[in-house]
């Protein structure tokens, strides 16, 4: 099935609970894989406005992730430090590798990239810089404080 990304609705907002939502301002996603009817993995076309980030810095226990920069440039931040990724560069984040990562657009121009992630069940997500842990539930991600207390209204569809 052929997909024109411009015909796929751009979705802003995030499933993160408060007080984290505001930090995802300026990010929008088009769910190309879902639009094509794929189930085993997702492929999103993502746009980051200047100053926006891909996600809170995190790593997945069971799901692999991959990104490919299409236009502009982003800064990849991991435990190893920072690296500028320009259009045509890629990065992969193997499941279970305890190295939190995210992308930040520190440029003055829009940056776009493709992100791919599989849907292996029973995943958990660790956020090393924030009081946040996520567990995959039947209806989406469930968010907890690091002491195990759930965030209120934390059940959200992904």
């Amino acid at each position: 099935m052929h997909i024109d990304p411009e015909q796929v609705p751009a979705k802003t907002g995030t499933v993160y609970p408060e007080p984290f939502k505001a930090r995802l301002a300026g990010r929008s996603k088009r769910r190309l894989g879902d639009a094509a009817g794929l189930k085993n993995f997702g492929v999103n076309w993502v746009a980051l406005e200047p100053g926006a980030m891909s996600a809170l810095r995190h790593w997945h226990q069971r799901q692999d992730e991959f990104i490919y920069v299409l236009t502009g440039e982003v800064v990849l931040i991991t435990n190893a430090g920072e690296q500028v990724l320009k259009a045509g560069m890629a990065a992969g984040f193997p499941a279970g590798e305890a190295n939190g990562h995210h992308l930040v657009n520190r440029s003055a121009a829009l940056a776009t990239y493709l992100e791919v992630g599989d849907r292996t069940p029973d995943d958990q997500v660790t956020y090393p810089d924030d009081d946040l842990v996520a567990a995959a539930g039947d209806a989406g991600w469930i968010f907890f404080h690091k002491d195990g207390q759930p965030y209120s209204s934390s059940m959200s569809s992904v």
Copy 2:
């Protein structure tokens, strides 16, 4: 892990048995996902020279597939006919959808795209236009004639 696609070896050739190998001339792949240590899905950067094709026309029983055109243009061929996909266009092929597909570069310029596929086990591949069936084995794809006879030397690592 950051990946520079140009540093990932370009691989030509195919795991198809004879007499199909020659039809894949002009195709090269860089296995970006593997280079990043991903296991759950593969992401390949693929280049098609003028006249080259992505694969024999086929569909997967259990594995989803997705492509995103990076440069140039390709013709997507499915049961529904032909469609030109230019840079920035995408297509997805859900597992189990009995609609053989492939990409052909009918232009005079190189075309490049990203392809994504998951690694769900016990997959089978149907090739509607050719006397060929593939089954996922422990060490790669095993190829059969449509009457069930194996191709000689058909075990190949993927």
